[in-house]
Structures are given as structure tokens and as C-alpha cells.
């Protein structure tokens, strides 16, 4: 097996390991916080605050990584279904994403056609 294929397999395995075994992330937290695993199966965290901070920090770090990926490929940030439906029904929308809220003009005042009373 060539080296780049082996590296790809290693990367894919590392990335999909938490999906297949959700215990992996928990084991990482246990190792990081030095939690005790008692013989009867229960775990005794020495410091709940440290464990909570570590777990939350790891989760936020992973979510931040996933969010930074959308800067690299912006089309992966949305659902993809609107663009997919428009493409399959004969229209290719190149800019479906709206502008940022800070650059958008404020909403107009309600007019008569908005009133249904």
C-alpha cells in the first residue's frame, strides 16, 4: 500500500473512530482529568469542575474545527437541499446565501399589504 493511501486510511480511521465508539471521547476525558474507575463500575471524579471544563472545552474545540471547515468550503455550511433541489429542477443558483445581517438593510416598516386584520 502506498504511503499516501496509508496516511489517508489513518486519517479516516482517526476521524471516524468517535462515531463508531462514543466511549473514545469519554476515555480521553478520563485520562485528562485522572478520573478513578472503581471495581464496581462506578466512576468517582475527584474534581467535577475540572471534568466539566475539560469535556466542554473538548466539545467546543471540535465544534470550532467543524465551523472553521465552512470557511474553507462555504457550500458545506448550509443544508445543501435547496441548492440540490434547484439544480435538479433545472436552475443553478450561484449565490443562494443571503448577505450577513450586519450588511443587510433594516426591515421596512409594515405597509398596508402586510396588515390582514
Amino acid at each position: 500500500m502506498p504511503s499516501h493511501a496509508r496516511n489517508l486510511c489513518f486519517t479516516l480511521t482517526t476521524l471516524t473512530y468517535p462515531l463508531a465508539y462514543p466511549q473514545a471521547l469519554h476515555n480521553v476525558v478520563m485520562y485528562a482529568t485522572d478520573l478513578a474507575l472503581y471495581p464496581d463500575g462506578t466512576e468517582g471524579p475527584a474534581d467535577v469542575g475540572t471534568a466539566f471544563t475539560t469535556y466542554t472545552g473538548l466539545n467546543v474545540l471540535i465544534v470550532l474545527l467543524a465551523a472553521l471547515l465552512t470557511l474553507w468550503a462555504p457550500s458545506a455550511g448550509s443544508s445543501g437541499l435547496p441548492k440540490l433541489k434547484s439544480y435538479l429542477n433545472g436552475t443553478l443558483l450561484r449565490a443562494l446565501r443571503p448577505p450577513p445581517s450586519a450588511l443587510r438593510p433594516p426591515p421596512s416598516a409594515p405597509t398596508r399589504r402586510h396588515v390582514h386584520a
Binding site: L15, L19, Y21, Q23, V63, W72, A73, S79, L81, N89
Partner: protein
């Protein structure tokens, strides 16, 4: 074309991002993005430089490429929910709800260079939407996608609350 909806970069970002998000137990993803992932896999397959397929019009014309994208959406839903018929119905109803004729309604029965006795009345028409050919191809594709998911799942029955 990193910004494209059906590009390789978007596929990589989608797969890695959804994997990361799912590993954090956030109530996001894993089923809806599979539609997009399947469509991107099909679109990349139609654009790949596979030896021997350079003149295969089934891959190179825009109409059949759209059909491949629709079948990719079928495979994505079938693999996400382990439901082949559900994937076909979802793509038929939600993803490509419009109906169109088959992409080559009048195939030439004669070898070249004989002219086609049944020429396409509208040769500029690009097939977009669902057609009867697509239904049969989906019935070929969806069970294989579902079976692939079933056989490659290392943890088929995970404990939903392993620490409680």
C-alpha cells in the same frame, strides 16, 4: 471550484464536519447531510477521469449527470435510514419532484453512420427531474447503499446512554 455545491472540497468538509459534530453529541446532522453527501459522491463520480469512460455519454452529458445526482440522493437517504424504498420515495417526492421524459427517448437502433430513423424532437432539451429510467436505476442503487451501510457499521446497536 471550492465554492461549488457538488465539489470535492465541499464533500470533504461536509463529511469531516458532520463526523466531528456527531462525535460531540450535538442534536445536528447525520441524516439530512447524507442526501447532500450522496449527491456529491455521484457528481464527483460522473466527473472523474476513469480510464475507458472518456466517451461514455452516460457520464459526460449534463442530463445523465443530473440523473446521477438524483440517484446519489437516493443512495444517501437509503444509507442514512437503512430504508431503500424510503430513499426512493424521498428523492422522488422531495428532491426532484418535477417529471421529465427520459434523457434519450429515441435511441438510435442502427449503428453509425446510419441516420437515426427516430430523431429526438427536441435535442436541446436537457433532462432535469424524475423519469421512469431513474426509478429502475434507483431500485438497483438503493438496496446496495443500504446493504453497504449495514455491513460496514462496526457498532450496529450502540447503547444510547452508556454512562447512566
Amino acid at each position: 471550484m471550492r465554492d461549488g455545491m457538488l465539489s470535492t472540497s465541499t464533500l470533504v468538509a461536509k463529511v469531516v464536519g458532520i463526523t466531528l459534530i456527531t462525535s460531540t453529541n450535538l442534536p445536528l446532522g447525520r441524516d439530512g447531510p447524507m442526501v447532500h453527501i450522496g449527491a456529491m459522491c455521484a457528481a464527483i463520480l460522473t466527473r472523474a477521469n476513469i480510464p475507458g469512460t472518456a466517451t461514455l455519454l452516460e457520464l459526460r452529458l449534463p442530463g445523465p449527470q443530473r440523473e446521477w445526482v438524483a440517484v446519489g440522493a437516493v443512495a444517501g437517504v437509503a444509507a442514512a435510514f437503512n430504508a431503500p424504498i424510503g430513499g426512493i420515495l424521498y428523492s422522488f417526492e422531495e428532491v426532484s419532484p418535477s417529471w421529465s421524459s427520459n434523457s434519450n427517448p429515441n435511441p438510435n437502433p442502427n449503428p453509425n453512420p446510419k441516420p437515426n430513423p427516430n430523431p429526438n424532437p427536441n435535442p436541446n432539451k436537457v433532462s432535469s427531474g424524475w423519469n421512469s429510467m431513474l426509478t429502475w436505476r434507483s431500485f438497483v442503487c438503493a438496496p446496495r447503499a443500504s446493504r453497504s451501510r449495514t455491513t460496514s457499521n462496526p457498532n450496529p446497536n450502540p447503547d444510547p446512554h452508556p454512562h447512566l
